[in-house]
């Protein structure tokens, strides 16, 4: 029982990170129907910016977090403006290939600048290094930090999407971009804002992964990126609470499979569950089954 709870706690920490990345995927997908492959590399760069701000600039954890979120935000908007905007009216698969191109570009430019080797993240200091026991379960301050930051960011995101003008615009564009434009919403700036929000969350996820796993490298984004996308699909792509549920679910399943089964089959189980969910409920857990009309 204790072991199970311990595993679930570990799973929640990992799931928080997946959820943060998945939110970016799901928002971008919701608004322009694009699987933004470059998103996982924004996350990777977020981790790198955090690394440099903590080592070279010697900033603390929170300023580094904000810096990497800001940088990711700018990067996300630049990617959208340079690579995706010219393709607004092209087929979706063309945009997808462009996204793959951007992803490769970011990975290999980072590799050329920072080197391909694995870097270890600077250790946290002070109270953040501690851990405590609760009825036989070890909870580290890192885990509390990760979950707290994730929850705060998610509440903030929900607030922006549900209560602000720009959030309303985002929802309107994702529902029907033509109609939204007719109602006087600036579709382009709304899309940019969506990219900014999603990328900022990915940047935060990057720095959190850095302190959780202690190592970063230019190709670190690929697998978590795919899994986060799986999480988004699992919850029903385009639906923000779906991405959160999917992220936590996948994090917990992964940790449980490694803990009780064979860690080699970890990813396999995740994908198998995904396929099963899709076969039973083709539009994801929270997705609505839309009837196709002529």
């Amino acid at each position: 029982m204790e072991q199970l709870l311990q595993q679930i706690i570990n799973g929640i920490s990992l799931g928080s990170i997946y959820a943060l990345i998945a939110l970016g995927y799901t928002m971008v997908y919701g608004i322009i129907k694009l699987i933004n492959f470059a998103h996982s590399d924004v996350y990777m760069l977020g981790a790198f910016i955090g690394y440099f701000s903590m080592t070279t600039l010697k900033l603390g954890f929170l300023p580094s977090l904000l810096l990497s979120m800001l940088f990711s935000m700018i990067l996300g908007v630049v990617i959208e403006k340079v690579a995706y905007k010219p393709l607004r009216n092209a087929t979706r698969i063309a945009v997808l290939i462009t996204a793959i191109g951007v992803s490769l570009f970011l990975e290999y430019v980072t590799m050329a600048i920072a080197g391909a080797n694995v870097r270890s993240y600077p250790p946290l200091t002070g109270i953040l290094t501690e851990s405590f026991n609760l009825m036989g379960i070890t909870i580290t301050m890192q885990q509390i930090l990760i979950v707290t930051i994730t929850v705060v960011l998610m509440i903030l995101l929900q607030f922006i999407v549900k209560k602000t003008r720009i959030g309303k615009a985002m929802r309107a564009v994702s529902l029907d971009s033509d109609a939204a434009e007719l109602m006087g919403i600036n579709v382009n700036s709304t899309i940019s804002f969506t990219f900014a929000l999603g990328s900022a969350l990915a940047g935060a996820a990057g720095i959190l992964v850095g302190i959780y796993y202690n190592s970063i490298n230019p190709l670190m984004g690929t697998l978590p990126g795919i899994k986060a996308f799986v999480a988004a699909v699992f919850g029903g792509i385009g639906i923000i609470p779906g991405a959160m549920i999917g992220g936590y679910f996948i994090g917990i399943v992964e940790v449980l499979v490694s803990g009780y089964g064979n860690s080699m089959y970890r990813d396999g189980v995740v994908f198998a569950i995904l396929i099963l969910v899709l076969i039973i409920k083709p539009s994801g857990l929270l997705g609505k089954n839309t009837r196709e009309k002529v």
């Binding site: 290939i97 462009t98 990813d267 396999g268 994908f271 076969i279 539009s283 002529v294």
Partner: protein
Amino acid sequence: MKKLIETNWIRKLISLILTFGIIQLLISLDIINSYLQTTLATICINIILAVSLNLITGFTGQFSLGHAGFMSIGAYTCALITLRVPSVLGFIIGVFAGAIMAAIVGFLVGLPTLRLRGDYLAIATLGMAEIIRIIFLNLDSITNGAAGLQDIPHFTNWPWLFVFTAGTILIISNFIKSSHGRACISIREDEIAADAMGINSTKYKVMAFTIGAFFAGIAGALYASTFNFIDPKIFSFSKSIDILVIVVLGGLGSISGSVIAAILLAIITTYLQSFANVQMIIYSLLLIIIMIFRPQGLMGSKELSLSMFSKIGEGFKPKKRRV
């Protein structure tokens, strides 16, 4: 009418023999040296992969991100057979056994997942390919796990590669011209309309998927025999992406486009080899630039009427709908 078909066939035959002969001559004159022969093999394998994925994604409109999974099944089956029966007969059996295994898996996977649409299908096929890869990774006793299979006997040479590549192109282009192929295209254009016209869309989607998997299996078998070494890492997600890039770059729904893109990309990669550190940066930039300036791919959905690949399928209407 009959005469027209005959001249067409003769033209096709002559162009095939010419392509084969010229390259065979260049090989025997050592202009295509052993290094370039590896590139040639890569081109042929990529053509088979791209043409077969084009059948699924370009012609039938089903977005698959798991082609490397089928490829790996062919590769492992052929490798395991030729390691035990290291003869030409073993190689032929291996290639076809690999293809059939891949087709069976394609059929079994396709049946439940092809009722998904668009990106959900893409992600399901991605997951399927990853599961296949993880199974190979963990079947230590058979596949030697992460270390992979070494010393796979080498049987591929230009005649074999040519037979399989030309065979794939001919069979798939003929399939597309048949009524089955027309049915597949109609599903791409509008699935609801196709259904309404009495086309059993599930049947044709699974058919295209199975045929695509069959040829991906052949490509995998040739890969194993050419490079003498396979491990699960080779058939990861990025391999599926590489194949998709060739298809989209060449143009969805254009077989000659896939062929051209496969050749072009191989040439670019070979040329960029000398700039190892910036190779991938230039490659990715090229990808972005080509897509921004030519989002429909090099050939769109038209076919090129080169002398070596006589016109296959007259101008499918350029499609405006999304995949």
